[in-house]
């Protein structure tokens, strides 16, 4: 059977499951929001034990990364992610999952080129463009500080 590109795109659209916005959006909102509430609990806890706002936020991130790493190890994070979509991708736990999951997945290729290299398959681009943006911004900030506009 011969099909044109346009026909193929229509077929793809019809069989594509993630176009049900009324399902995906509330799930992403609720699960993503819930992860942030857990973050807020840790934030308040660390602040109560004397951490400053900034330190508490960093400790919260480390805690969420650790929790996400363990859940990823037990394959539970992916189970939640199946339903949550961006709700589990956008929070820092999603970033952690994107590092831990390939690290574990490519363990069979050894600890150097498997675990060590593949853990950056998604984190790599995030760090590259995040740092590049920060240097770009730093340059503008530096120039605007030294040259009176």
């Amino acid at each position: 059977m011969k099909i044109t590109n346009q026909e193929y795109n229509e077929m793809l659209k019809a069989s594509s499951p993630n176009t049900k916005l009324h399902m995906t959006l509330p799930k992403a909102f609720i699960i993503g929001g819930f992860i942030c509430v857990i973050g807020e609990v840790f934030l308040k806890l660390y602040e109560r034990y004397g951490a400053g706002r900034e330190t508490a936020a960093m400790l919260t991130s480390i805690t969420l990364i650790a929790v996400s790493a363990i859940l990823t190890g037990f394959k539970l994070y992916d189970k939640i992610a199946k339903h949550a979509g961006a709700g589990t991708i956008v929070p820092i736990t999603g970033f952690a999952n994107a590092v831990v999951a390939p690290a574990l997945e490519f363990k069979t290729e050894g600890f150097i080129l498997g675990v060590g290299a593949k853990m950056f398959i998604i984190a790599g681009p995030v760090i590259v463009y995040g740092i590049a943006a920060s240097v770009f911004y730093g340059l503008i900030y530096y120039i605007s500080g030294t040259v009176p506009v």
Partner: protein, 121 residues
């Protein structure tokens, strides 16, 4: 106190909802979403729009990856203030250090302790 949790939920949820819209309506895959959110966080932090959101929503703004980007922009600002020109290059990694170190070490530990097929059930 209760309002803090409510706003963390609403703002954090909204940022995830924006991510879901990008996935469903465009061809952005998860890796691109993460990159987009971090860069957006740097830009929003740079122009001073993200800090009010952090003050208002707490973890609702710092837990999503835009918060990571905001952290980078804050780090650069601080480093340029302290070290001048050199700060342009040190600020981002300095601010991101704890997050990157944590994620790398925990990934390594999980890779050592778990097998590929390990399941809770």
């Amino acid at each position: 106190m209760f309002m803090d949790f409510l706003w963390a939920f609403v703002i954090g949820g909204t940022l995830c909802l924006i991510g879901q819209l990008l996935i469903d309506l465009t061809k952005l895959n998860p890796a691109r979403i993460l990159v987009t959110f971090v860069v957006a966080g740097v830009l929003l932090g740079g122009v001073g729009l993200y800090k009010p959101l952090v003050d208002f929503a707490g973890a609702g703004a710092t837990v999503p990856l835009t918060g990571f980007g905001y952290l980078l922009s804050e780090g650069v600002q601080k480093a340029v203030g302290e070290k001048g020109l050199l700060g342009i290059f040190t600020g981002g990694f300095t601010a991101a250090a704890s997050g990157i170190a944590a994620v790398v070490v925990f990934a390594l530990i999980v890779a050592m302790l778990f097998k590929r097929g390990d399941k809770m059930t």
